[in-house]
Symmetry: C2
Subunit: 339 residues, 2 copies
């Protein structure tokens, strides 16, 4: 099957781009309502965007490789979901609203069943995250999935890594550590194909079908200037905020949001280690002034997500405390190329 047929059959989803358009009139009221939009999707050499004056275009790219970011024996529709989730999570990390994405995929062969399932998963994730596929390419080679995601944010409203201020609260969304713990289920789920119990199934879902808090992140830009997504583990990612903002933090380990499913599976102590050091969470870590506490809690409620205050920004160091006593974190975070 030729590349063009393959794109046409599996990667051309139906979207109505015109609905995002606001006409071309140039008067003040239409200027005011102008939104960033995709003006050309799949079918030419490039995808085209228009970004009105008061917005910035935000873009992020991530590659997923077999054995590193996913297991190739996982259902292809779950691989597709995760690839897109990981990328829109980077947009959430900046407080941006997803606008579109492109897919570059290398495939060892044209396997129709695989492609059908992958395409289905991608289409569903694309609808779930409200982000259209607007281009990309397919090549023959070892399985490699690259997605570039595009989003927009109003000027002055970015969540950045270097804006933490001493005295700020430190918050995280969702529950941490589930995805890392779920790696222990690989054999059971994919080799033995045994039934998972309720807790296990929940962890497996966190690993294979993460849902970044997109809406919350976008609205959060009114209350915070500093955040990122937790993809390499809380301590590593919080470390990026601290080094870029040239400050330190105290984290209360007893406050870390660990789910009942995780505690059932590995016990409270190991759950905390996973929450501190596990990767693949695709939740947000952000800082905000303590005067915004109630607004943040209300926003989370409106967005139907969990949000937890886990510590404070301080002058220097990264201090982990459990009920006031120093706590030792027992492993390094995920890094590619650690040898």
């Amino acid at each position: 099957m030729a590349e063009f047929d393959l794109i046409e059959r599996y990667f051309t989803f139906e979207y109505d781009f015109t609905q995002a358009s606001n006409g071309s009139a140039n008067n003040k009221s239409s200027q005011k309502n102008k939104k960033p939009k995709v003006v050309k999707g799949i079918g030419d050499d490039c995808a085209i965007f228009e970004i009105p004056e008061k917005y910035q275009l935000v873009t992020s790219t991530d590659t997923l490789v077999d054995g590193v970011h996913f297991f190739s024996d996982l259902e292809p529709e779950l691989i597709a979901h995760k690839a897109l989730a990981a990328n829109v999570s980077d947009l959430a990390a900046m407080g941006a609203k997803p606008l579109a994405f492109t897919l570059s995929i290398s495939l060892p062969e044209v396997n129709q069943d695989w492609l059908k399932s992958f395409s289905e998963g991608l289409k569903n994730a694309s609808k779930l995250f409200k982000v259209p596929l607007v281009g990309g390419d397919t090549t023959q080679g070892p399985l490699n999935i690259n997605i570039t995601a595009y989003g927009s944010v109003k000027k002055g409203r970015l969540l950045e890594r270097n804006n933490a201020e001493v005295g700020d609260d430190i918050w995280v969304t969702g529950y941490l550590g589930e995805a890392a713990a779920a790696l222990e289920l690989y054999d059971k789920a994919l080799v033995q194909k045994a039934a998972l119990n309720h807790s296990e199934a929940e962890l497996w879902k966190a690993l294979t079908q993460p849902i970044p808090p997109l809406k919350f992140a976008r609205k959060l830009t009114k209350l915070s200037r500093c955040g990122l997504d937790i993809s390499d583990g809380l301590t590593a990612d919080l470390g990026h905020i601290l080094s870029k903002s040239q400050c330190g933090a105290k984290v209360c380990v007893e406050s870390l949001p660990v789910s009942e499913a995780l505690v059932n599976f590995v016990g409270l102590e190991q759950a905390r280690q996973y929450a501190l050091n596990g990767g693949d969470d695709y939740q947000l870590c952000f800082t905000a002034s303590s005067k915004h506490r109630n607004k943040i809690l209300n926003l989370a409620e409106r967005c139907q997500i969990n949000v937890t205050r886990i510590g404070k920004v301080q002058d220097e160091g990264l201090q982990l405390n459990l009920n006031g006593q120093p706590f030792e974190s027992n492993r390094v975070s995920w890094q590619h190329f650690n040898q």
Copy 2:
């Protein structure tokens, strides 16, 4: 070596983004001079762009895989050059000016010599094409190089595939077929590592160091509305224009620009076949009204590139003539996944 160190050491080039900035004053004259710009490069979750009102952002993504788009035994700096060239060629195909690019690279291992050479080649190509690296990621996996390129074009000035009109001239830039012919040199150049003669060296350079006609493409948008880059072979790529524009074409095979080097290497007849069907040319094919002939020739001269009128847009079909007689093209163009 951790991912962050690797990016810092090999993929952080020095650019002065501020020079592209035009301040934030909001009066009319500053509005008029506003240019698209990169406001944030490497170091956060995303890269950020500002695209003034009268511009559109154009983006394209391409993956290069070992054995398909390059030979891994080629010098890494040439692999880097080609990866970036293939992507900025897609911008040229739309008439866009390069603004930035991101790199996602999967590497089987951290080989410092390989990375040093690749990084050097990427930096040089980045300077040559005047396009800064603003983000990306590195992962462990089979060698896979994905680049997403970003460019800008004034509204209403895009080169698109669907704008050919019956009676238009058909033009191509540069010389065709050299890269495809150069594949015959693989053994000599990379296995035997024998010296190439003058013609062979020229072909090898066309394959490994293509230079898309970026400046010409950008200026061409005043004279043409329809074009693309020839990466899959002239007949295949011209075919895209014809099907999207719902028209046909007559191509005069004797007019095809074949270089002396190519004719020396394979003879005139095979040179024409390569020119029609060879891939990897990264030249432009475009259509324009015959009233613009002189302007197009003058523009090409100013941009120091070759440009050739090879035929005319007609109602239907793709007719290949050699001195008025039907000409038979002897092979299909390059397609991924042809099995």
